[in-house]
């Protein structure tokens, strides 16, 4: 394989990695409610079934062009419109789709409706309509109960007693890490021991790595010196290659001074000679003035 092919492959790989980081493949069907009796009301004042889509990535994902369906045999049943700005989902944010069969109400209303009190299938496909992003088989649900992830986008789906449309399924009002440290490490001893151990481990690993690299480097230099005939034996070459930098600097300086001391020809001559010049173009103001236009 020539270098050009490797470069092209690398470039393609980089593009693919960047694209994957913000691709619709990060979308998840987070929560579904099929029987809406006293739950969320859409902007038209209706209560319908809804599907919550969650962006599980740390980058914004565009879901326009993706397909959502309730029929496994027809993946392209409803395309999410490309003309709506709200189809961009922020990192770890959600968007609601109303599965009410009223597509004329806009992008976020599908052309199919979910059946209350029965099992339903929902599939989310990418813009090709061939690659499945996520699917869910929703069991028959009691009114105003939803089915989804208890931790957004993660783990197993379950029936949720308290639906949370357009909000995270799991709410954290505290920082559990900080609370844990407040409770279990009030004097900071555990933190100090753990963190200092990690700092030492990191630098000890580096220490060993560079001890080995240093030894290998000295040995390789010695081998090169022997090959070049500069030294007779490896041990002699090693002692030469481990000459401290200060000694090398002193030797270099001595050689430089020695060479500079023997001059046959000087490249430049410096003299001190007084020159009297009353006018100099450098001090003339005439050149700094704008010229008067010539009359013709």
């Amino acid at each position: 394989m020539n270098i050009r092919k490797i470069r092209v492959a690398l470039a393609l790989w980089c593009v693919a990695m960047v694209a994957a980081a913000q691709s619709p493949m990060a979308l998840r069907i987070n929560e579904v409610l099929t029987a809406n009796e006293n739950n969320y009301i859409d902007p038209f004042g209706n209560r319908g079934a809804w599907i919550e889509i969650y962006n599980s990535s740390a980058g914004t994902v565009q879901m326009a062009g993706c397909y959502i369906t309730d029929d496994p045999a027809n993946p392209k049943k409803y395309m999410i419109s490309k003309g709506d700005l709200k189809t961009k989902i922020g990192p770890h944010q959600v968007v609601i789709l109303w599965a009410d069969g009223k597509a004329h109400h806009g992008t976020f209303h599908t052309n199919f409706s979910l059946k209350a009190g029965e099992e339903n299938y929902i599939g989310l496909y990418d813009a090709s309509g061939k690659n499945l992003i996520d699917e869910v088989h929703v069991p028959a649900l009691a009114p105003d109960r939803s089915f989804g992830f208890s931790l957004d986008g993660k783990g197993e789906r379950t029936v949720l007693e308290n639906p949370t449309p357009e909000a995270a399924n799991h709410v954290e009002n505290t920082n559990p890490k900080v609370d844990k440290f407040s409770e279990k490490d009030p004097f900071g001893v555990s933190m100090a021991i753990t963190a200092m151990s990690v700092v030492f481990i990191a630098l000890i690993i580096l220490f060993f790595a560079f001890k080995c690299v240093g030894k290998a480097s000295i040995t390789m230099s010695a081998h090169r010196a022997v090959k070049a005939g500069v030294a007779d034996t490896i041990s002699a070459a090693k002692s030469e290659t481990s000459i401290p930098g200060e000694v090398l600097a002193a030797i270099s300086m001595a050689i430089y001074e020695y060479q500079e001391a023997e001059h046959d020809y000087e490249e430049a001559i410096l003299t001190v000679k007084q020159v009297k010049r009353t006018y100099s173009p450098w001090s003339s103001k005439i050149y700094g003035l704008r010229q008067i236009p010539n009359k013709k």
């Binding site: 100090a192 963190a195 930098g245």
Partner: protein, 385 residues
């Protein structure tokens, strides 16, 4: 005519309500005084002038009083010019760029030739965790304590980066404290170094570092990044940029990029960082009991870090051969105030033996301290973020 003069008078009165004189508070004057002190220290004493001039002048900018009339003037008013520049601090993207420049200007040869000096850099991080324990005892919650404690790493960009993540409301005080004590390193460290060493130890001559090949210098940033960031991924923004900058320098084929990183880029970011951090010290936000506590903790953490570095070298010497001992005067350089703390080792070393040059040896723990404090910041961020 009378109506005209009355209108004119009203206008002038209205104008006067907008002036700084009408809106000044005692806090503003106090902060302006501190700003002038910073500028004085930078100009007259040459204490970290590259930092103290922008910060000092930033304090003046941030403490010009004005009427809150929605004119988008102050640093805390959304979309004001200062607020836009301040986003680099708030979002934490100035510090990694500074680290890129530091990497491009740092020569790790001293460390590569004598890797055991890395451990001295690790030991000095005790300052961070000593300060963390004291901060908890003073009533800070763990995330605030972590943000304050990082001052002990003696690394301004790291302190700003971590405080922007863990305790954004304390960032101004933490940044000012970190940079102030970094400037005061020549005052803080020598007495501790003298106190903890005896004459015999101060006269220890270390073996000169060996010459390091370019291959080793190229391997260092790559292996350094992989080993440290696999262990502490949360240190990636700082360590990634530090080692990347160093690879630009050492690869030998990206001279222009390295020169940009260590020249114009770091200069621009230093100016923006300094002036916006200074301007963030508006008296109303800055003059609080917490700021005073942070300044006290900053001093304590520097003392602990210096002492830990020196004592660790003495302890380490117990296990080293007689001809391979380390001069404990380089222990202070484990705090990452590059290169000031290394320069102090040199000055103190020469004071006791005019032919004992410690600078190159001290640069080892000094740059290891940069790595160590970035790793420590990553750990704190991982645990408390």
């Amino acid at each position: 005519m009378g109506e005209f003069f009355s209108f004119l008078g009203e206008n002038i009165n209205e104008f006067l309500t907008y002036t700084g004189f009408a809106n000044v508070a005692v806090g503003n004057l106090v902060m302006i005084f501190f700003g002038c002190v910073f500028i004085y220290l930078a100009v007259a004493k040459e204490f970290e002038p590259m930092l103290l001039i922008p910060i000092g002048f930033g304090i003046l900018i941030g403490n010009i009083p004005f009427k809150d009339a929605g004119l988008q003037l102050g640093i805390y008013e959304e979309n004001s010019v200062l607020n836009i520049l301040y986003q680099g601090v708030v979002q934490g993207w100035y510090p990694p760029l500074i680290f890129l420049g530091i990497g491009a200007m740092t020569d790790f040869s001293a460390l590569i030739s004598n890797p055991k000096l890395m451990l001295v850099g690790a030991a000095a991080q005790f300052g961070i965790f000593g300060a963390y324990a004291i901060a908890l005892a003073m009533g800070f919650d763990p995330s605030q304590a972590g943000a304050v404690a990082i001052i002990g790493g003696a690394d301004g960009p790291t302190a700003i980066f971590l405080s922007s993540k863990l305790a954004p409301n304390l960032m101004g005080a933490i940044a000012i404290s970190a940079y102030s004590y970094m400037a005061l390193v020549p005052v803080i460290q020598p007495p501790i170094m003298r106190l903890l060493t005896n004459k015999k130890e101060r006269l220890i001559r270390m073996r000169p570092p060996r010459a390091v090949s370019q291959t080793e210098k190229i391997i260092f940033p790559i292996v350094g990044l992989l080993l440290t960031c696999f262990l502490v991924p949360s240190g990636l923004p700082l360590l990634g940029m530090l080692f990347f900058g160093n690879l630009l320098k050492e690869s030998g084929v990206t001279r222009r990029l390295a020169e940009t990183a260590r020249g114009p880029l770091i200069d621009v970011i230093t100016i923006l960082l300094g002036v916006t951090v200074g301007a963030s010290t508006q008296a109303s936000q800055f003059l609080t009991a917490n700021s005073i506590k942070i300044f006290v903790l900053g001093a304590v953490s520097f003392v602990i870090a210096t002492a830990a570095g020196v004592l660790f070298v003495k302890f380490f010497n117990l296990f080293l051969r007689k001809d391979n001992k380390i001069n404990p005067l380089i222990g202070n350089a484990g705090v990452s105030a590059v290169p000031d703390s290394a320069r102090i080792s040199q000055v103190l070393g020469l004071e006791y033996d005019p032919s004992n040059y410690l600078l190159m040896h001290a640069m080892g723990p000094n740059v290891a301290g940069v790595i160590g404090s970035a790793v420590a910041a990553g750990i704190l961020l991982g645990f408390l973020g």
